[in-house]
């Protein structure tokens, strides 16, 4: 009898474990344009100059057998905190389709446009999330190449902060406006109130304006204000756009925001690739390592997923010829992502590419596998559905249901066990 009772308890606990929310937030550090995996997370030093280009060396990380690019020494000291996925693949070499794949997990070409995974999380948490800050925030803006909200519509799109977090005053759109202090704002609002006479949605609008006043002058203002951070911390992240954006992301996650998209541009290096990487990689190294270690020391890494990568990688072979003169082309066949926190293991490498880095050699990972795993860790059923205005309920990740497109959720590198009934 007792045994049966125990078994039931165990079963309930297991079921709960399978669907419980492991992570509370996601930070996507998005390297827009497509970063070179061979210069970052999947170096090929033995392939000669036509492949490794100017970066012959590597960094030995603190995890035995794992090496990363020579320009990432700080990240090399903490490989036990993250896992490298070296076998992402979607085969698309165009920005818009690659971006669509990495942000929605869907393969483009279907009849419906899927929402970004930030929007999906925002939709799924619409009732449970009660914070004053928006559920899905982009620092400083989302890629507008496609409709972020997809078929879910505008309400779940990201809130773009705009502004320059690296400047003295980070003017968050709609929140911080350096010309207007509280007193001036109050006087403007009372002017507006005494003027407004027409009835149109007046009650709704008035109450929304009140909420906004709280938003503008309340806690959120303090959260966005980087002057609340000691200068040493700001230095640690780097005083660049990317560095300070990552710091903003940490502050937002601390405040409970479920999805933060740190989008940084300039990674589309067809020409002068190595000259550009000489400054961009140290910048990334500083920002990302600071973010991981800072979240870790605050005890937030366990509940925060960090993802870092772009819409695709870059060709492992360097294009030395004119007009590229040392560039790398778009490459969607095999590329890397760094994942950390929120239930993702540290110190591992998932998948591998072949000798040249041009093909996936082991454990291919599709965008839907990665995003589905993020959903799983966020307590969202990756096999669930979303409502479409004319098509009814659609699968949240259609590619995950297609064995030609999906290679399985990433159970190898997360804390959750694969349920027995899942193929």
């Amino acid at each position: 009898m007792r045994r049966i009772y125990l078994t039931i308890v165990l079963l309930v606990a297991l079921c709960y474990g399978a669907y419980a929310q492991r992570a509370k937030s996601v930070i996507l550090v998005y390297l827009d344009g497509g970063p070179a995996q061979t210069d970052t997370f999947d170096p090929k030093p033995e392939m000669g100059r036509n492949y490794h280009g100017n970066y012959k060396g590597v960094c030995q990380t603190n995890v035995e057998g794992v090496v990363i690019g020579e320009k990432l020494p700080l990240l090399a000291t903490m490989a036990d905190k993250y896992t490298l996925i070296r076998s992402l693949t979607h085969g698309s070499n165009a920005h818009e389709t690659g971006h669509y794949a990495m942000i929605t997990g869907d393969s483009s070409g279907g009849a419906v446009v899927y929402p970004s995974f930030g929007a999906v999380i925002s939709y799924m948490m619409k009732d449970s999330y009660k914070g004053i800050l928006p559920c899905y925030i982009s620092v400083t803006s989302a890629n507008s190449r496609f409709n972020e909200g997809g078929f879910l519509g505008n309400a779940y799109k990201s809130f773009d902060t705009g502004g320059k977090p690296e400047s003295k005053e980070y003017e968050v759109e709609g929140v911080v406006n350096k010309h207007i202090d509280r007193k001036r704002m109050d006087s403007r609002m009372s002017l507006l109130r005494s003027f407004e006479s027409l009835e149109m949605d007046k009650d709704v609008i008035d109450s929304l304006r009140d909420i906004n006043m709280e938003f503008i002058w309340g806690e959120s203002r303090e959260i966005f204000d980087l002057n609340n951070e000691p200068d040493s911390v700001r230095q640690r992240y780097g005083k660049s756009r990317l560095g300070q954006s990552c710091l903003v992301a940490r502050r937002l996650v601390e405040a409970g925001v479920p999805f933060v998209n740190v989008r940084t541009t300039g990674w589309d290096t067809h020409k002068k690739h190595f000259q550009k990487m000489n400054s961009m990689l140290p910048d990334l190294d500083r920002a990302l390592s600071a973010l991981i270690s800072d979240l870790d020391s605050r005890g937030l890494l366990d509940s925060t997923i960090i993802l870092c990568g772009g819409e695709f990688g870059r060709s492992p072979k360097v294009l030395w010829e004119a007009p590229w003169n040392g560039g790398r082309a778009h490459f969607g066949a095999a590329f890397s992502y760094l994942v950390a926190g929120g239930g993702f293991h540290g110190g591992k490498v998932l998948g591998a590419t072949d000798k040249t880095g041009e093909k996936v050699a082991k454990r291919p990972v599709s965008p839907c596998d990665l995003i589905g795993t993020v959903y799983l860790l966020m307590g969202i059923d990756p096999y669930g559905t979303l409502p479409h205005v004319s098509e009814g309920e659609l699968p949240i990740l259609p590619s995950l249901l297609d064995s030609k497109k999906s290679h399985g959720l990433l159970y190898e590198i997360i804390d959750l066990k694969k349920p027995d009934n899942e193929k």
Partner: protein, 471 residues
Amino acid sequence: MKRTFLILIVALLFPLVQATASVRCSDEVFLRRAYLTITGALPTPNQCTAFIDDQSADKREVLIDKLIQSELGLKYMQMRWGDILRIKSEFPSNLWPNGVQAYNRWIYEQLMNNVPYDKMVQRLLLSSGSNFRSGAANFYRGFQKRTSKNIYANINLLFLGNRECTDNGNLCFSQIKYKSTKEWKEEIVYLDIHKKQPYQDVVLEDGTKLYLRADSDWRTTYVEWLTSPSNRRFAEVMVNRMWYWVFGRGIVHEPDNWHPDNKPSNPAMLKNLTDRFIDSKFDLRALMKMILLSEQFNSLPAPDGGYLPQRLPAEVIVDAIATVTGTWSTYTSRVPEPFTVYPPRTRSTHLGDATVSSSELELFGKVSRDVSLESQRNNTITSRQLLYLMNSSVLENNIRRSPVLQRIYIDSPDIETIANKITLLTLSRRATRSEIDIYKKHMDKNQLPLMEVAIDIMWMQINSNEFLYNH
């Protein structure tokens, strides 16, 4: 006797009660409403004063005619068609910039020549050829799922008001084929009319049977049936769509959801307009004019009937703010073939491509043109939109550095003149006495210099419901 008397009194009073239900709007209100509805643009201060001062009795009708035929009117109408025909460079339509341009040009030509609706639909549905050369062929090019079922369902949605299909109506579109050319993204839409198919009978929505003959374009048979005056639904859906374009609410609502259970709110009016539309041989301009001359369009908002105020569409709000501040966004197409920068001061209503956007347009709900539904446009006001209007530093700077506001400030001796000029520009009317008092009080109480008051007035008016709504 007494009873008859009572009935008589009620009968006499009734028309009076009816008449008070809708009050004719003023010329100022009408002018703003007509400009925003027909052209998607604010009237200029000169247009406002000229219209208000015009004494002729038929000035509303004259204005309607002028605006419908104007470049702005045609372009705004082109945008509405572009929304439901999903004109967009990238997915899901994937027309690419060359196709987008050809398609837009084709629509503009139809509208400019006021091609009758039945003719326009015939040209659209019987199109073929290169997507870069034959604009209308982009109708077939723009399908991701290029099955005859999907094409047929979309045609039903566009022209008959829902996606419901009969078992084999899609056969009419089963001859459509695509072939690529050597030109990048150029594709030829053609018909395989010799396709080996047995002699076919097709049953359509209203039970009509069509006979598809071998060696012929089967679309022709369908289109003849679709666009015939005896197919009332075809005309009704267009009448309802036009009503929706004007009022933001269909007589049948949503306009994409025609269904036996979804009854028209005013069947008599729908019937009357449809009769007149068919009698006019499907004249689209005449249809719009008919609706704009209706009592509903000419009345003040009222709880029962009258004009229904509606938040301005995203593109219209963004253009209106640009007009008022004199600062326009720069739009670019990032689809690299070729990378395009639109000329300065391009209206967002004229972009013609849903792939081209801005954060403001996204914020206010520009249509992404992913589906052919009118209901994809959401004009509900949200807290984020209000947040932008209240406290955006971009908007603040646009007002502060506004060349228009500088001009007004330089040209005006006092707050009264400033207020009048801003109000005419922003709200298309003159400032009232009491409003000017409010502004003066604001200036005195807060000890603000005149230019700062001017900035506050412009900020306040942009934030007002009167600006954000068509009313």
